[in-house]
Symmetry: C2
Subunit: 155 residues, 2 copies
Amino acid sequence: MNIGEASKASGVSSKMIRYYESIGLISEPLRTESGYRIYSDKDVHALRFVSRARDLGFSVDQMGDLLALWRDRSRASADVKAIALRHIEALEQKAQALQAMSHTLKHLADNCSGDGRPDCPIIEEFAEGAAMSQNNGRRPRFGVTGTDAVAAGQA
Amino acid sequence: MNIGEASKASGVSSKMIRYYESIGLISEPLRTESGYRIYSDKDVHALRFVSRARDLGFSVDQMGDLLALWRDRSRASADVKAIALRHIEALEQKAQALQAMSHTLKHLADNCSGDGRPDCPIIEEFAEGAAMSQNNGRRPRFGVTGTDAVAAGQA
DNA sequence: GCTTGACCTTCCAACGATGGGAAGGACTAT
DNA sequence: ATAGTCCTTCCCATCGTTGGAAGGTCAAGC
């Protein structure tokens, strides 16, 4: 199976397969004499594993850990569960942060007439506002890293 | 006021102030003879505006639009509201995507004994699982872009 | 005046995950 | 043989942000 077929079979783009290989997440496959990568069913299985973990928002690092546990037949399920629970925690935290923003903004929007007049509590809040609700003063300085598997759609 | 003072007064790091200037989000400030940037209270006001919009997850592009509306004293509040509503929509969508992942994972984790035995539905789902709940088949291929103002904490 | 330290300047690189594209070789079907 | 589709490697862009290097400037203390 060449990379294109493996891609279709796994749902991971050829680009990403090469990338995952380059960073050592997956092992280097065999090659034909002319240099084409050849994938076994086993390889595709691993790729599907990665694909599904990715869809649940796991980072490449976490996927590495999960793959190692997958291959370790003497693993303790507690180790897998620990990774999952930590990730759930992070997901919830991010979701809550997003919703806190959404709610703050919704309150402002609710008080905005949304007509032709210039007066707008949204703009006013940005211009004069005190600290934004959440996070009581400590400026969060965000920047989603790692589990950024969101924004479905026109990616 | 030099950039360090403006940074403290606005909550935007010096690095980001220079960056926002470089991409044209904020205007170039005056300079001392030796080249130091000097900021007026007005400039700091704009920086604070940016800071607060950023905390609500607006992208740089959106902030540009908001700044333009802010400066436009004949703006229609409807225009501001429209940006806000679109953003609320996006925030909600992302939050829901994160929570869908969280829930899926939680179900799996709930069925994982989390002890010393290797059997683990989480790993099994990744290895054999069918399509992941959400998004009925269409693989989302995530990657938060734009409104990535999440992941509070150790940034 | 001179040194020290804290600031400022510009430029370049990195992160994470992904896509785009160029230049060139390999394969397949007609 | 030739066209078309695939593969290869390489570099670049994204988005927002931080880090660092190399060098200039300023204010305070001696």
